[in-house]
Amino acid sequence: MSFDKKFITEKDFHTIDFVQESGWDISNAIKNPKTTSAVLEKIASVPSNYMVRTAIAENPNVTNKALKLVAENMSHRWEWRAVWNTFIKRVTDSEAIHDKNTPYASFILNSKLSNPEYVAGYFAVAGGAMAEDLWHDLASRKILELGYREDSYDGDHFGPLWDDKVIEFDGSPAEYILSPGYFCEWISKEQKADLGWVSENLTDTLSDDPEWIIERFIEDYSDDLPLLFAACHGLVNKHLTVADSKAFDNFVVETMLDYDSEMLDVEVSIDSEPEHLQGPRFADLSADGIMHLTENLLLASNHYIPKNFRITPHLLSLVLLHPNTPQEVKDKIIAADVAGMKSTLEFVTSDK
């Protein structure tokens, strides 16, 4: 059975098991503004796939209830983007909540607020600036290790990616939302080759499909890529050993940059301050300011947006790792046992 209607009605919902009819046709019908809020809530309340959930979040009639149901089940970046865009549009349309480049507004530092929706909106807008401030500070103090990974499909990844024993971040919706990725201006990057990994990959490619690389070799004898494939095959099969490591590494990196730069490792170093950040930095905050900030983060962590995007667990983890955070505040974070902080909590409590 195919679903060919332009939008979905209550009647369709009861007569067609359309959620099982996954595909673009259903998504387009769900997205159609003629599909009502009530129908969207019903669709959101039953199991579905990411395309259906994305379409629900993109419909202008989506209610907070339906958006929350989508957020609780989302697993794909299309859903992250759709839910996030709808939420942020509503937050910023309703009130001028905050400047996204000011991580710590005075009203967040001076008191414990009471409206979870408002606080969630605040951290949704300012969370990226807060993360950048704390990443920069903690990495400068060698408490956190920052990583970078090129990714032409999902966009480049940047943040505390590699130190997975301490913090959960890589590949999470928090990374998708909080990280500036390619646009981070306070780091420098240098490509490095993991020779073993590159060699294994290129050798597999050569074994699977040697014709194209031989064709390339014949077409242009000066092309370095066939030479690299042969070198990697030779290393893996012990036909050769590297005589000049530095020259060989340079040859691998230069050649891979033209072929597939995503196979290279990227080393990150901090080379400047995050100058776009306005107002105080975390290192400037008083003990009271850190306490109020934490209380507001804990309040926001009950809201479905910071919670399901794992923004508040990430920001609370960073606060917990910071040496300026008073023990009283750390104890409060540990006692709250917020979901999504397992690695950090284990690290901090085992360190005691």
Partner: protein, 75 residues
Amino acid sequence: MSATPAEIANLASRVLKAWETVQETYDALEELIDVDTFLGIQYAELHAEGTVHLTEESKPILEHAYETLISAQEE
């Protein structure tokens, strides 16, 4: 049979020389160059550049490349 580094280096040098001749004179390179011939030529090139040392295990590859290229020269 084992080969000394000098013998391997000498074989690589002959592969490179044979390849220089063949690529200028042979019309059907795409039919001539199989995987091991390709590898042998490239090993010889890398060796000539000084970035790698060839091991004894490379000898059969280099010999195959040399024989293929010499046969092509004789055609």
